[in-house]
Symmetry: C2
Subunit: 177 residues, 2 copies
DNA sequence: CGATCCTTTGACGGAAATCAATAGGTGTGG
DNA sequence: CCACACCTATTGATTTCCGTCAAAGGATCG
């Protein structure tokens, strides 16, 4: 677990979406996050705990190699401060995810997830701000929320009946309010 | 969510232990981590998502104020790289916690927790390496693992009967192997 | 139009939560 | 030193939410 080295590379997602996941030996998969345009993907060569990043749709990323970053940072010290701050942001997102998984019910998890996606993606949405795209399949959402996909499906149906969800299709949702 | 600023302060835990927690509005508490000697606590003034840090026992921390850090970093650019790397480490711990909460059974959670504490604290242990102190009360462990304390208690009893735990008292445990 | 994949719905079972009571530790004061 | 109160932990009985197993419905593509 060597520390003290800068990131080897930095990727910035320009268009599309990604999922990040970790796997247990027996195949169980936990999705640890989704990435939307503007998000960073840091990758270190000395990566101990393997995790996976996969595109959910056609996507474009911008790649800043190791040396390039170093060169920029030498001229502009604020760059490293931004990387530190970005790390904090990622950490706080992870903490929110931990609270979701540790304390929330299935219905609360699904509602939190839908609001999160709406917030992450909504800024780019054209026209109807309340229509939120869901680029990932149900299984990915379930694996993010720590639920079985049947439970997710039932919970979505329940939210629709309750009126919290106005429209629901495979790849988009319209939330109430 | 302003980024682009360095940490306002940095604390390093020298002796003792802390718990970090987040709270939902209705009082539910999730413990997001425990700190042992050598761990860092970063605090930013612009902290949006409030979380709480509390000592579990008499502890000592070393405080590096904002300006002091900046002064050091100006002379020694490696400091910021280390802060970036440390952030990655924290992030990876959070991801392991997410996998634990999202995918593991009660028994797996308790085993993972005990091994984590043994690993975090064991390096300082004197004499019998397999005796692991548990400075936190059962309720804190349960809130870390996303379990009720009754479930934790039953699971510990089960592990003892299985032989995975040799000795168990309120504030320490001896693991098999 | 059929094949395949993804999603939804149904019936049932089980792991953990909840409700409730007991036991064990710790500290205080008589 | 014992008795009492208080707090933490364990154990027991029951419920419930979600997981598991199974089948059917809908979308997408060649």
């Amino acid at each position: 677990m060597e520390e003290g080295e800068a990131n080897d590379s930095l990727y910035v997602l320009v268009q599309g979406s990604f999922r990040l996941s970790k796997h247990l030996e027996d195949g169980r998969r936990q999705i640890t996050g989704f990435l939307f345009p503007g998000d960073f993907v840091g990758v270190r060569a000395t990566e101990a705990s393997a995790y996976t990043a996969e595109a959910l749709e056609d996507s474009r990323v911008c790649h800043f190699p190791h040396k390039f970053l170093d060169a920029i940072a030498a001229d502009c010290p604020g760059v490293k401060d931004r990387l530190i701050a970005r790390g904090q942001t990622e950490y706080h997102k992870a903490q929110d995810h931990i609270v979701l998984l540790g304390k929330k019910t299935a219905e609360e998890r699904v509602e939190s997830f839908l609001r999160m996606v709406a917030k992450s993606i909504g800024k780019n949405a054209s026209g109807d701000v309340s229509e939120t795209p869901l680029p990932m399949p149900r299984q990915d959402i379930a694996d993010y929320l720590g639920l079985r996909l049947e439970t997710l499906s039932r919970t979505l149906a329940g939210l629709k009946k309750k009126g919290a969800i106005r429209e629901l299709s495979r790849h988009s949702v319209v939330l109430a309010e």
